[in-house]
């Protein structure tokens, strides 16, 4: 396999900008890798080698001609299949959208194109991003490159596994309750959920509008920073996007300094319920940070106890409404039942055939939660919990600059292990969900391997809204400490995949 694919994005950027490699070479190397391993990993739902190479060739031509280029021009990337692309189908992992080619590009996709980044393909996800394992993808699960029998996390397991298996140096994910961070944790990669509104959601097929946020997936913190700086920014098409700039994440990632920073350990997200190896690595990182001059403080977020309950009311409520448009009238699947095909029957038959079990489960939950007579008890109470969680964070950030917790209670579980137990699946996201409810930024970075199973563990960093830069500062510094301890990048411990 080409050495190119193992390089960090920041290294490839240097090679490209100094014309030591061409974008076509870099892009082709990743396409070759996909051809070699993706039959087993199944990161992609759709690959676009021709258009990726065409973009790459165009960038190479411009570079040769001395035209001004974006710093990331020519660097290929994978995009989660819930972002609209005009040149590739967009399914959101659902049969109901199978074959649909959108008429417009998502704002983030348009930014990638404007930067001259070849798009390698569209990555797998749980249907409409509902899940923590990709097992709810209508097109089959993705596999964890560390152990193909295990899940790569979800919903963004396609993006995490693509980056972890060197099929892409960078990928775009979306995070509603942990869909970027959990996959990063279990695949030994980096994933950031930026502050709500930092990245435009225009063109992201909505799961829960008030929770969804697009973010970068990469193999190290600086790479994630490079990507967040490309995709962030105000967008008039997204009223909830933040008007102000959050500054340069790349600069923050280059600070490499945690001296004097107060690192808050969230009491409720440690100890019981967390796999011993996960907890052990977490404790070690606290020591590393302390040794580097950070102050470790304990904070308490008592309302987190209700976070999952609140999340599983707000998310399905919004999703039930967001998914109403999938009715066969204007786009996507249309199923015409036998007999008199009235519009109601066509809509019902299409939704019956087009949606998978987890989607139906959440639509029913959400419809119920919003129903007259139940609204106050369910949706209303959940919104109150949301406020309480925000207050918990406010109090915690009064004591600490950055909060930390394990990203997930366990390492990657086996495919099928939790498929029949929705509650067990939902509990995976216990540490990641509060950030979405509060709109604050969160990042998961590799945190060593668990002794009991040798699988990667993640540590989550959280910062106040708009303070994404703190995540990159602390994340990059901690990542460096890990590499010093372990002797190499965490991803380099991953076993070699069988190449076909």
């Amino acid at each position: 396999m080409s050495d190119l694919i193992r390089k960090n994005a920041s290294e490839l950027v240097e090679l490209l900008n100094s014309k030591q490699v061409s974008s076509v070479e870099v892009t082709q190397a990743h396409i070759d890798r996909t051809n070699a391993v993706d039959a087993d990993v199944h990161s992609y739902l759709h690959v676009s080698p021709e258009s990726a190479l065409a973009t790459a060739a165009e960038i190479d031509r411009k570079r040769a001609a001395g035209e001004p280029l974006h710093p990331l021009a020519g660097l290929p990337i994978a995009v989660k299949d819930n972002l609209t692309t005009t040149d590739a189908p967009t399914t959101s992992g659902s049969k109901i959208l199978e074959g649909w080619v959108p008429q417009y590009d998502a704002t983030v996709v348009a930014k990638l194109r404007a930067a001259g980044m070849p798009i390698l393909g569209k990555t797998n996800l749980d249907e409409f991003a509902m899940g923590s394992s990709t097992e709810f993808s209508a097109f089959g699960p993705s596999h964890n490159p560390w152990d193909l029998d295990r899940i790569p996390g979800g919903s963004g397991g396609g993006s995490s596994s693509a980056v972890a298996s060197f099929q892409a140096p960078l990928a775009i994910g979306s995070d509603t309750g942990g869909s970027i961070r959990f996959p990063a944790a279990v695949t030994g990669t980096v994933g950031t959920k930026p502050t709500y509104g930092a990245v435009s959601r225009y063109g992201l097929i909505a799961l829960a509008s008030s929770l969804d946020q697009i973010g970068p997936v990469s193999r190290n913190v600086l790479d994630a920073a490079l990507l967040q700086d490309v995709i962030a920014g105000y967008d008039k098409h997204d009223s909830t996007s933040l008007p102000e700039s959050l500054g340069s994440m790349v600069e923050a990632a280059k600070k490499m300094d945690v001296k004097g920073l107060r690192i808050g350990v969230i009491k409720e997200l440690t100890g019981a319920g967390f796999q011993p190896g996960v907890q052990a690595r977490f404790n070690e990182s606290l020591t590393l940070l302390q040794n580097a001059g950070a102050e470790i403080v304990e904070v308490s977020c008592p309302s987190f106890e209700y976070a999952i309950a609140a999340y599983y009311l707000i998310l399905p409520a919004e999703a039930s409404s967001n998914l109403a448009k999938f009715d066969s009238v204007r786009f996507g699947l249309r199923v015409t039942p036998e007999g008199n095909p009235t519009i109601e029957r066509v809509m019902a038959a299409t939704r019956e055939a087009g949606f998978g079990p987890e989607v139906k489960r959440r639509i029913i939950l959400g419809t119920y939660a919003l129903s007259s007579g139940y609204y106050d008890a369910y949706y209303g109470s959940a919104q109150k919990v949301r406020t309480l969680i925000q207050r918990d964070f406010d109090a915690a950030f009064a004591k600490a600059d950055v909060l930390v917790s394990p990203t997930a209670p366990t390492t990657a579980f086996k495919l099928g292990e939790k498929l029949e137990d929705p509650l067990a699946m939902y509990l995976n996201d216990i540490a990641t969900i509060p950030a979405n409810l509060a709109g604050i930024p969160g990042m998961s970075i590799p945190n060593g391997l668990a002794e009991e199973d040798g699988l990667p563990v993640g540590i989550q960093l959280l910062a106040p809204a708009r303070e994404d830069a703190r995540l990159y500062q602390v994340g990059a510094a901690l990542e460096k400490m890990h590499e010093d301890v372990w002797g190499k990048r965490m991803i380099d411990f991953a076993p070699e995949l069988e190449v076909k």
Binding site: N82, L83, T84, T90, S92, L97, W100, P102, Q103, Y104, A106, R201, Y202, G203, L204, I205, A206, A208, S209, S210, K236, H237, D238, S239, T240, A317, E318, S320, S321, A324, K325, F326, D327, V329, R330, F331, I343, E344, M347, T367, L370, S371, S372, Y375, Y379
Partner: protein, 500 residues
């Protein structure tokens, strides 16, 4: 219900108190739609003014049209409402193929304007203070055309076509509180109220306000209760009442229909009803109970609208004259009798007369032409008088031609026909068609002599002071000269002849 089963109107009023409530939808005349940049235009090819947002493609997001908010605030202010310092949009969820997202983005518990009042005068001269509950912003749905059915209704149609050009057009829905005490004048009050709203939005220039195009649409709620009862009766909501006349007829019909049912001991079904202009009846639509569950919840894709006090006050300062105050001013300026003025108001002629007077006509002349011949023509052509192709300036010109003796009334009516047919201004028509009155004494004397030949006694009668005898000769002269004689001059010449 057959017409002969209705209760006699007076009898219905004797037995029941009428309570009405009106919901008026005003389509704003903004350049673009409520939540996207598509043109807001009537009459274009179907599905040409559409984009991913207004047809609800996956991933698209709404963004609020500031101009629409401004228009809504102006309407609220003109209705004496308070303007909410912060107003949220909400989703009203229901499946219907004309609703692209299967939810309507509307306002629910936080309307932009609330608690207003409007003084409405009915033809008798009675005035009612109609309390406004709220005015809120929302988007229109697309337009369905049912093909193959007998009546253009969905029932029995072979298929239906959807035009999304109207989807997302900004609407303001103005809702009254229940209106009590109008008694027999409830139907007139309903129509007068809608006319007032129409006049206000037209004066504000926020809507084209053409009822026949659906720019102003009214749903009329009617309920009856026994005199003295505190409890409101069950109401019906009659839709599809697209002219002032039909509002009045529909309300009257519902009063008589409901009274007949209640008097027989029956009960009213809470439902929407459709008005059939052709048959003059309402028919049952769909049942509508308070349990109708639209699963409203705050629209998570939009941030709240928070108009600044400065903005609101600048809009308040720019409000045009209140139509009721304007009526008082014009009544004083014009010097019409109370009855004349009321007729003018009821015929909706204030604008025309005011502009005609401004163009130099005497108020009485302006009233005479607009309220007489032009109203007759409009009525015959089933048009609104404002839709006739004649300008107030042309009417003023016509009046001045009559007053200057160039033409007489009969010729003026003929001139009007040609002006309306597009032959030019009154003066141009008179010149081109040679329609001036004949005041050439030679021709008139010849005609007088011819007339006197058969009525020789007339001159004696005039000499004896019986002037009414002149009429016969004047009439004969007019007839001989096909109406183009200057009647005043004929009279003068006749008197000269008698006294010669």
């Amino acid at each position: 219900m057959a017409k002969d089963e209705l209760m006699n109107y007076e009898q219905a009023l004797a037995q029941f108190e009428v309570v009405i409530g009106l919901e008026v939808h005003v389509e704003l005349n903004t350049k673009t739609k409520m939540f996207c940049g598509c043109k807001n235009e009537f009459g274009n090819e179907p599905n040409t003014n559409v984009c991913p947002i207004c047809i609800g493609l996956p991933g698209s997001l709404p963004a609020v049209n500031k101009r629409a908010v401004e228009s809504s605030i102006s309407i609220g202010l003109a209705l004496g409402c308070q303007i909410a310092p912060t107003g949220r949009f909400a989703r009203k969820n229901y499946f219907y193929p004309d609703l692209a997202k299967n939810f309507q983005t509307s306002q629910y518990d936080e309307p932009i304007a609330f608690e207003g009042a409007l003084e409405v005068e009915v033809p008798s001269g009675n005035k009612f203070n109609v309390l406004i509950e709220r005015a809120h912003m929302e988007e229109d749905a697309g337009k369905l055309t049912h093909v193959g059915g007998a009546t253009g209704r969905i029932q029995g149609a072979e298929y239906s076509l959807v035009d999304y050009n109207r989807a997302g057009v900004p609407l303001v829905e103005i809702v009254t509180k229940p209106v009590f005490g109008a008694g027999a004048e409830a139907p007139e009050l309903a129509a007068a109220y809608v006319r007032s709203i129409r006049d206000i939005v037209r004066a504000l220039n926020v809507s084209d306000a053409r009822m026949e195009r659906g720019n102003v649409r009214c749903d009329a709620n009617v309920s009856l209760r026994p005199h003295g009862s505190e409890k409101l009766g069950t109401r019906t909501e009659t839709k599809n009442v697209n002219s002032l006349r039909s509002i009045e007829r529909a309300v009257r019909y519902e009063i008589q229909r409901q009274a007949a049912i209640l008097a027989k001991g029956g009960s009213i079904i809470q439902e929407t009803r459709h008005w059939h202009e052709d048959r003059g009846i309402t028919s049952s639509g769909r049942p509508k109970s308070d349990a109708d569950d639209y699963r409203y919840f705050p629209e998570p894709d939009l941030v709240p609208v928070q108009p600044s006090i400065e903005w609101i006050e600048s809009l308040r300062a720019a409000l045009p004259e209140n139509p009721a105050e304007r009526r008082r001013r014009l009544a004083a300026d014009w010097g019409f009798s109370e009855l004349e003025f009321r007729d003018v108001v009821n015929a909706g002629l204030l604008d025309q007369i005011e502009e005609t007077v401004a163009a130099g006509a005497k108020p009485q002349s302006a009233r005479k032409w607009w309220g007489g011949e032009l109203a007759r023509v409009a009525n015959a052509e089933d048009k609104d008088v404002t839709e006739l192709s004649i300008t107030p300036a042309q009417v003023a010109e016509l009046a001045s031609l009559v007053e200057g003796g160039k033409i007489n009334d009969r010729l003026a009516r003929e001139v009007l026909t040609y002006v309306l047919a597009g032959e030019g201004s009154p003066a141009e028509v008179v010149a081109a068609r040679g329609l001036e009155v004949v005041s050439d004494d030679g021709a008139l004397i010849a005609a007088i002599d011819a007339a006197l030949a058969s009525q020789p006694d007339v001159l004696d009668a005039i000499r004896e002071g019986r002037m009414q005898a002149a009429g016969a000769v004047i009439g004969a002269v007019m007839k001989a000269m096909k109406g183009s004689a200057d009647a005043a001059r004929v009279r003068e010449l006749l008197i000269e002849k008698a006294n010669a």
